[in-house]
């Protein structure tokens, strides 16, 4: 993998990151196509999808500190723009805490497939505190 500043040229078939790795960057596809595969080294790999030009991938491990949930492989030769972890954290850190929480919820759902997603008590309390902080809110049982 050749790295020039934030830009990376990857050749067809090269592995950008592996499932289980700890994440240090998210990537935007500037050109080419990337394949996201779960269980790549198992006997039953599952293709989760493709990321095309303009698409972002690898963002999830940076947000919730979990290992990479899948592997990313260049399907064609591709040019990627790496978004470093600290940039991602800064952007999220500057965002409204409620938005940050909702982004985290969505990542949990994607990781654990919807109904298996469960927020731990600390996340629930944080979200509840955010809700309770707001000066006006519909009353309990109100159909907003």
């Amino acid at each position: 993998m050749t790295q020039i500043l934030n830009r990376r040229l990857v050749t067809e078939g090269s592995v950008i990151f592996r499932e289980g790795d700890s994440g240090t960057s998210a990537y935007v596809v500037q050109s080419g196509r990337v394949r996201i595969v779960k269980g790549m080294e198992s006997s039953t790999p599952v293709l989760l999808g493709h990321v095309e030009e303009g698409g972002l991938f690898g963002e999830m491990a940076l947000i919730d500190n979990s290992p990479r949930m899948a592997s990313a492989v260049a399907e064609t030769s591709a040019v990627l723009i790496a978004i470093p972890e600290d940039t991602m954290r800064r952007k999220l850190g500057d965002a409204d805490p409620v938005l940050r929480m909702i982004v985290t919820i969505m990542i949990r759902m994607i990781r654990y497939k919807s109904t298996d997603a469960r927020l731990e008590q600390s996340a629930l309390s944080e979200l509840e505190a955010a809700a309770a902080d707001t000066p006006e809110r519909p009353g309990d049982g109100d159909a907003a």
Binding site: L99, M101, I102, M106, M109, I110, A131, P138, D140
Partner: protein
């Protein structure tokens, strides 16, 4: 009255949080209590298919592209929920850093495609 992105709602036992087929505008994070997820079977009858407890999310369709709830949810016991209002969320996203809006849209698309895959796999199993 301004609707906040996240509000607190208590749903008494037996009441529906939302109905299948109605526009998905609110997602629910269960804080306390138990919620039953009801889906239509082949005969068009609604039957319980899953249970959600503290920390679980129901009505996640409200976080995807606009559309109806694919299932209903009923409070099994008195339930304390955190309700995410999609309309208010969109307002906040539109007013924030485009990076956050783009991130949300990407996550929303990813979640939708994963849920579609699960639904397709469930259908094949039936």
């Amino acid at each position: 009255m301004t609707v906040e992105i996240v509000s607190i709602r208590d749903v008494p036992a037996g009441e529906l949080l939302f109905h299948a087929g109605t526009p998905a505008t609110e997602a629910f994070v269960v804080k306390e209590g138990t919620v039953t997820v009801l889906a239509f079977d082949r005969n068009g009858e609604e039957r319980p298919v899953a249970t959600a407890g503290p920390g679980h999310i129901v009505g996640e369709a409200a976080l995807l592209a606009p559309g109806p709830y694919p299932y209903s949810a009923r409070a099994e016991s008195d339930t304390h929920c955190l309700v995410i209002d999609r309309h208010a969320l969109d307002g906040k996203l539109d007013a924030s850093d485009p990076f956050i809006r783009a991130l949300f849209d990407i996550l929303s698309g990813n979640l939708e495609s994963i849920l579609d895959k699960i639904t397709a796999a469930d259908r094949r199993r039936e």
